[in-house]
Amino acid sequence: MESLINSLVTQVKSGNWEAFEGLVEIYKDKIYRLCYRMVGDRHEAEDLAQEAFVRAFVNIDKYSGSYKFSTWLYRIATNLCIDRLRKKKPDYSMDAEIPGTEGATLYSQVADADPLPEEEVEEKEKHDHLQQEIMKLPEKYRTAILLKYIEDMSLEEISSVMDLPVPTVKTRIHRGREALKKAYKKVAKSR
């Protein structure tokens, strides 16, 4: 498998862009699943996963082969997802006044807006209890947890994907599962 992947990468690099199709076929489910678990919305996940592949194609010359192609691809995908999550949840306060809008706060703007898409998302994904809990995790724990348990990666691989030292990855996995446990406990009690 690894040699097939390397051969496809070499072909794409040498100009046979049609060979990229093989790489998409091999990784589409994994990358889509990762994106879905990261952002919790199928439509958005499709958008992100496609973007990840397009970026990989455009930057294929930058892939040096010093680590696995999948590691590189996962890195592109997780970074895209994290970027998207950050854009969705700006880290300024909801009560903060928006520059240039007299007296308007983000809260009042949101309240005025159309029905919140968040409600739709929640409704749609209600059946997926695990996904809901994953969505509650801070993104840095979420990424580590997903790569570890959903994608079944080794600590070393996760360390390459996230560009973090192994001990940090480990800590994030521990904290992530701890947080998941707490969330589960609450649900169990409320039932």
Partner: protein
């Protein structure tokens, strides 16, 4: 009664990471027999991990690959080596070589204006000031004779080819050339001559 012992928390993490030793495992198990909080913690984490691993499979939507392939930017595709280079690498290399060769030879035609004589023979008369070469009467020159940017006068015999580049050839009535004789005045002729000599290795310096 909650157990806040860091030691057992670490052991639980180790157990879940598959890094626990047999000794530690026994120790943890013994502790959990009496500690409800650690036992619950351990099993809850295990259950979560199990559930994640068993999470319902998610597959990419239909036409995913097709859509990605459609989205690949044309600019990038075009910047990649053209199809025919991959299909006909030898032909491409030959074409590129000829183009480069043609360019450098053309440059030579325009810049090389020095008088030069290429011959293995010693019995020719060379007048560097007048840019003339003479094959004296009664002499026999063996091998090819190439004159660049000068004229040649053949009064004797040349047993080989004579090439005059950017110059004139004068034959005396007794003059004789056994091989080919050629005068080159045009750039195109020059290029052709250079390519020919390059491939056949005719020109001797």
């Amino acid at each position: 009664m909650s157990c806040e012992s860091e030691e057992y928390m670490d052991l639980i993490d180790k157990a879940l990471d598959g890094e626990i030793t047999a000794e530690e495992q026994t120790e943890l198990e013994r502790h959990m027999e009496s500690c409800e909080s650690c036992k619950e913690h351990y099993h809850a984490l295990k259950e979560i991990i199990y559930e994640m691993k068993e999470a319902s499979p998610v597959v990419a939507p239909a036409h995913f690959t097709e859509n990605v392939m459609k989205k690949l930017p044309e600019v990038k595709k075009r910047s990649m080596p053209a199809q025919w280079i991959r299909r006909y690498p030898v032909l491409t290399a030959a074409a590129v070589f000829l183009i480069l060769m043609f360019g450098s030879v053309m440059a030579g035609w325009n810049t090389e204006n020095d008088f030069a004589v290429h011959s293995a023979a010693s019995n020719i008369k060379v007048n560097s000031a007048a840019h003339t070469v003479t094959v004296p009467k009664g002499e026999t020159v063996k091998g090819d004779l190439v004159v660049e940017n000068g004229d040649i006068k053949v009064e004797g015999k040349v047993e080989g080819n004579v090439v005059v580049i950017k110059g004139e050839k004068y034959m005396a009535s007794a003059g004789q050339i056994t091989g080919d004789s050629q005068e080159i005045h045009e750039a195109v002729e020059w290029v052709w001559y250079k390519l020919k000599t390059f491939f056949t290795g005719q020109e001797q310096k």
